[in-house]
């Protein structure tokens, strides 16, 4: 059973970006709880397969965040299925997922799956446009969090600022709404200090972009989650 309740920190790797083996090793052995493989642009079967193949040499949980049906493959420790709660279109909250379940449903081991209720908070992010989002107000976000917890019983609510630094007060307020659903925060974490600020409220902090700019800084963020 894929269980994220005890997680604190994850690194998100983009299969469309390259990373040296020594850095990948450092990330996998950093004490982070998992490596998530996922991205928005240029995701292919080949680049996902290649990255998975490299990560699985290390003793670390490796998760595929499914963004395109072309790049679904076996062999991961778990699969995250995103629903974009603040999309304008049913397509991004249900229809793509429905299509995937229709096609692969009989082969899915649901114990390996976790659904993420995404709120995309950065209008400039590629995913904001790709998933036809609309920017939610604070009240909108809190209501989505309530729905994730109480109506859909989602394991994960994901506040995604995607490359920009988010609103720590909002993260705090969302955290106060959630009990069973685990709060992921992603966006703009580039230092240990920033990691500490967001980790104060979010259950799990997601560190992504900085990996490709300053891997030592990225590695430092893991320390925000250690006693």
């Amino acid at each position: 059973m894929l269980n994220v309740k005890n997680w604190n920190h994850v690194f998100k790797l983009d299969p469309n970006k390259s990373i040296e083996e020594r850095y990948l090793k450092d990330l996998c052995e950093s004490g982070t709880d998992a490596i998530i493989i996922g991205g928005t642009d240029g995701i292919t079967f080949d680049n996902v397969f290649d990255l998975q193949d490299r990560v699985q040499k290390y003793d670390i949980t490796c998760i595929l965040e499914v963004s395109t049906m072309e790049a679904i493959m076996p062999g991961f420790n778990g699969y995250f299925i995103p629903l974009v709660l603040n999309s304008r279109e049913k397509r991004y909250v249900m229809d793509i997922q429905h299509q995937a379940v229709k096609e692969y449903g009989d082969w899915i081991d649901w114990r390996e799956m976790a659904v993420e209720g995404y709120c995309v908070m950065n209008e400039q992010a590629k995913v904001f446009e790709a998933a036809q989002c609309q920017l939610p107000s604070k009240e909108d976000v809190l209501a989505y969090a309530k729905m994730a917890e109480h109506m859909f019983n989602l394991p994960i609510f994901y506040l995604e600022y995607s490359g920009t630094w988010g609103d720590a007060e909002l993260v705090r307020d969302v955290a106060a709404e959630l009990e069973q659903t685990v709060l992921f925060y992603g966006g703009g974490i580039e230092t240990l200090e920033q990691a500490k600020i967001m980790k104060k409220h979010a259950d799990v902090i997601v560190v992504g972009n900085i990996i490709y700019e300053d891997v030592q800084a990225a590695l430092q963020t893991v320390n925000a989650c250690k006693q």
Copy 2:
């Protein structure tokens, strides 16, 4: 905690239709598991309040199936929140519900709520048009059922043929997909024999229209659920 797992049979009363007191008494005392108050057209605060007021004199679970925000009120034993899975529009699977949670979220006792994943199977039904549905194939329905059970952990999956007799084989196949999620069947049950056929596969059969045409026949359907 609203728990429908042991239910077998419910009567659905339309607040926009009138029913004599003696018939209402018979329905409430028939041995059915609950009275659901819900409908598509002409639902107002006044007619819902009036019907609730009459039903609550009897010792029977009374549920409001929320179809319009204007007619939400306290005092029910439980509330069903429909999501129309086969709607074309996000509005009917998430946005109306989001609006309601935004407005009333702080007052909601979630233990009284149960979300229904609806599949509307009758193109001629008012609700089909009102919720901008598209008719799902058998494979579509089975995939929606899988999503209801595994992705959204919904307490109820509701196959709604709305006034017409449904496909018993499909009901059987959907039942085979569901373990935790309770299968409701509604549509065209007018006799004890029909009730028995659908009850063979569905966990809960919903009897509605026939109440207003032949209340004795409606009452007979309860016997399909008795040993």
